[in-house]
Symmetry: C2
């Protein structure tokens, strides 16, 4: 499903080059549950943005479902981002002036789903993250962890087959975090591919495989002995 070959991603800040990812070689097959770990600044979010086609490689190859991503058209990339991949951002990225319901409904509008079906799907997604009693709140009228859960509901609402979650439990207490992890386990059991960035060992323990980054390189890629 996902094939990275000798991938580099180097940022430019003024005159300085920042090598965020160096020589990444990684394969993920359909239906896997992978945790990505590593210190702050090691390149985890950069890797997730590349997988989700939100950013482009500096060098190397990225093949998604047999397609060379560098050869895809803008339309094809938009289709991947909107339909095939659900992305939970580390910074949530909610629309500040729309309430929780409108934020979760947005991907369904892009997908051309009818208003009645959209309402049903968006309410179900918000219920699955425990926020049925906050659907009319705007992001500024929600707690940090509640905003994070709206971002999770939005990523899942259109049933994408690949779910990329960047630190999905960072703002959640252990009981609420546990509910989200159970949701991810159920999605994985249904055949979806889960890729989760985390710094919490308890979250990584749910994945079948752990990829560890250090200074932009993969330093280990092992099957999880816990799961």
């Amino acid at each position: 499903l996902i094939h990275f070959k000798d991938v580099d991603r180097t940022y430019q800040v003024g005159q300085i080059k920042v090598p965020a990812l160096r020589q990444i070689n990684m394969d993920i097959v359909r239906g896997e549950y992978v945790a990505i770990m590593g210190p702050s600044g090691s390149g985890k979010s950069t890797l997730m943005n590349l997988i989700g086609c939100l950013d482009t490689l500096t060098s190397g190859e990225y093949w998604l479902s047999g397609d060379d991503v560098s050869k895809l058209t803008d339309n094809e990339l938009a289709h991947i981002r909107n339909r095939r991949v659900g992305f939970v951002f580390q910074t949530f990225n909610l629309l500040p002036r729309a309430n929780a319901f409108r934020n979760v409904e947005l991907p369904l509008i892009y997908a051309g789903i009818t208003p009645r079906k959209r309402k049903d799907m968006a309410l179900k997604a918000l219920e699955s993250v425990g926020l049925s009693d906050r659907i009319n709140h705007k992001p500024t009228e929600l707690s940090g962890g509640q905003r994070q859960r709206v971002a999770i509901a939005r990523a899942l609402v259109n049933n994408p087959s690949i779910i990329l979650a960047d630190e999905p439990t960072g703002n959640l207490d252990s009981a609420t975090g546990e509910e989200i992890l159970q949701l991810f386990t159920d999605l994985h059991a249904a055949g979806n591919t889960m890729i989760v960035v985390t710094h919490e060992e308890s979250v990584a323990a749910r994945a079948a495989r752990v990829v560890r980054l250090l200074d932009g390189r993969i330093v280990s890629d092992t099957l999880n002995s816990h799961s």
Copy 2:
């Protein structure tokens, strides 16, 4: 130092009242290290915003260093927010167009400190959170955990005597988080008052006292048996 008596904070969303804090009674003396815990949405950030004079009570009393906060002038409140309290926000709240150095220097400009001294203090604060090699990066050119650390450096740069940190390690791996916790322990040993919101037991274990919230109420307030 901090005295809360029968404090309520109720938000208004359209026609609906949201009681975020109910009947909070709490005393914190100078030099304490308190952890505030509780489920997502239980009222932790609301409580921190009240302590830091960033928000006002709906009812009840708040006395800070013997002053009734409801009777303070805008100037006196600004002085508390800018000089006496260092606030690490759950959402970082960095200026997006300023680099890390400029963000950390800002409180020193408000405090009327000379440019040379400002530069020295800001660089020291960034070094204390491990970001000496990222001072020219803007927030969008930093990782999530790096942004969080810039927010911590900014809160500490002017040596406030009360430090309020809302989920300061949420985006940090355990080694980087440990460096921040050690920094907090050193600040506490120097006589500063530390109040930290966290959902991680390992962070709460460093505090001497744990206040637990549930649905806007304090359900327990106990000395920490671990520390």
